[in-house]
């Protein structure tokens, strides 16, 4: 177990109401002592050093800071770190295995789903929640599920393709949908690999 201490600013720490919380991040158990006003995004980035979770707008609009809390997507700039107590947090760092990328990450690479990459971690986490709930999304389903995540580079086209690519890859081979776009995506996998 890891012990971390995070202090949000320079004020004297004597009067600060600190709470001890325990939670898991990407499957690892953590204990932290945090001030209640510390945001979950700051605990993740500064406390845990997991800087894959990005802070974009800081006003609950852009979704760059999206993580999964017990499997459900949440904007981590709009949740207090103390609220993670007893819960499971998953960040973009939890997607890849030791030696291979998660199909979503592969999909974003194969379909050029990012340009500057700032929104990408949030897009992937929102997409992961979508695919867990609906393994066979339509393009419309993907657009709907990602409508809380802003991207200023891509115009979203390739992000949507990337998620559909991942959905196709994650589907059990035997139960493959006889769907035109999925077939197209598989061809590209072969071409790429």
């Amino acid at each position: 177990m890891t012990m971390i201490f995070v202090e949000p600013d320079d004020e004297a720490a004597t009067d600060v109401p600190v709470r001890r919380i325990s939670f898991t991040v990407n499957g690892q158990k953590k204990i932290a002592e945090v001030e209640p006003r510390l945001l979950l995004s700051h605990l993740i980035r500064r406390g845990l050093g997991l800087t894959g979770t990005h802070m974009g707008c800081d006003t609950t609009n852009c979704g760059a800071c999206t993580v999964l809390v017990d499997g459900r997507p949440a904007k981590s700039c709009t949740m207090l770190a103390v609220q993670a107590d007893g819960h499971e947090i998953e960040t973009v760092e939890g997607l890849a295995g030791a030696s291979e990328l998660h199909p979503l990450q592969e999909g974003f690479r194969a379909e050029h789903g990012l340009q500057c990459g700032f929104c990408t971690p949030g897009m992937m986490m929102a997409a992961k929640a979508l695919l867990a709930e609906n393994p066979n999304p339509t393009e419309e389903d993907v657009r709907w599920a990602l409508s809380g995540n802003l991207c200023r580079c891509t115009g979203y086209q390739n992000i949507v393709k990337s998620v559909l690519w991942a959905a196709d890859k994650l589907r059990p081979a035997s139960g493959a949908e006889p769907d035109g776009s999925a077939a197209e995506a598989s061809t590209e996998v072969t071409a790429e690999g």
Partner: protein, 297 residues
């Protein structure tokens, strides 16, 4: 951005919540979904000395139908639960129409209906929906439980009828006495933006005639607007082009929109008229084609 410093308590029961609120009064704030409160605290529009997080209280995440047909929505029922609810799709078309239009998909995972009502944002969608359905808010405090009609619950912009030591625990939508119908339409510049205009229309009909109607408006006044005259004009009438026009005009007159970056007052008023007409015309078409059976494709 950080909120200013506060103390945090996460009680395990409503009773404990009430004690904390009683002890700290106006200095305490209840945290449910936090999708409005946390941003407000970060911007320092709100600086409570104590945040009482009710998320650890079990048994508040429900929405269910009572045997008599009324609906109950608990304080921790998230927008996303309502969006995916087969129950709402089957029995409450106005709420089913509104649920997918709240904020954005990620905010809907945490935000709550009851919290949204308490927040009393003039641009909040649920307040109009629940007002049109004549819902009631169940409130608990040191003196016990009381029930407040939605029409009386919001007392002004960002103001509700709760005493400092009371907490809203559930919302009740009364059982329909006839076939429930209606909808919610929202004009927003992009997903997640506040409503430029939102219109909730709830009607119940026996045969061709409207037996009950509720119309409420989002974003076109200092708080949620109950267009009671527009609704009253429908009762006892069939839905025809004329009765729909009259109701739409009265609803537009009830609006008190202001010109801002989302549109001119005249435009917003026009949209109120258009939305009322659209919802009611769609209902009128359903009966004329489906011979009384609602929810036709």
């Amino acid at each position: 951005m950080y909120p200013s410093r506060f103390r945090y308590e996460a009680p395990r029961s409503i009773q404990e919540t009430i004690s904390l609120l009683h002890e700290h009064g106006d200095d305490a704030k209840v945290l449910a979904g936090g999708q409005s409160l946390v941003p407000l605290m970060k911007l320092r529009f709100a600086s409570p000395g104590l945040v009482v997080d009710i998320n650890n209280i079990g048994g508040l995440g429900y929405h269910r139908a009572d045997p008599d047909g009324s609906l109950r929505i608990g304080a921790l029922c998230r927008h996303a639960d309502l969006e995916r609810s087969a129950l709402l799709n089957g029995m409450q078309p106005v709420m089913a129409a509104a649920a997918p239009l709240i904020a954005d998909p990620i905010v809907r995972q945490r935000g709550t209906l009851v919290g949204s009502l308490c927040h009393a944002d003039p641009q909040g969608d649920w307040a109009s929906v629940i007002a049109a359905l004549e819902g009631r808010v169940v409130v608990r405090g040191p003196a016990g439980t009381r029930t407040i009609a939605m029409a009386d619950f919001i007392t002004g912009p960002f103001q509700n009828a709760l005493e400092a030591d009371e907490v809203a625990v559930e919302v009740i939508i009364p059982a329909p006495r006839a076939t429930p119908a209606g909808g919610y339409l929202k004009l927003e510049r992009r997903v997640g933006d506040f409503a430029t205009v939102g219109v909730a229309v709830a009607v119940e009909r026996t045969g061709e005639r409207v037996t009950r109607a509720g119309i409420a408006l989002t974003g076109v006044g200092g708080s949620t607007i109950n267009a009671a005259e527009a609704a009253a004009a429908l009762v006892g009438q069939p839905l025809t082009a004329e009765t729909i026009d009259t109701a739409a005009d009265l609803a537009a007159q009830a609006a008190r929109p202001r010109t801002d970056h989302r549109g001119s007052a005249e435009y917003k008023r026009h949209m109120v008229r258009t939305f009322v007409t659209r919802i009611l015309s769609s209902e009128a078409r359903k009966t004329s084609t489906a011979d009384g059976s609602e929810r036709a494709a």
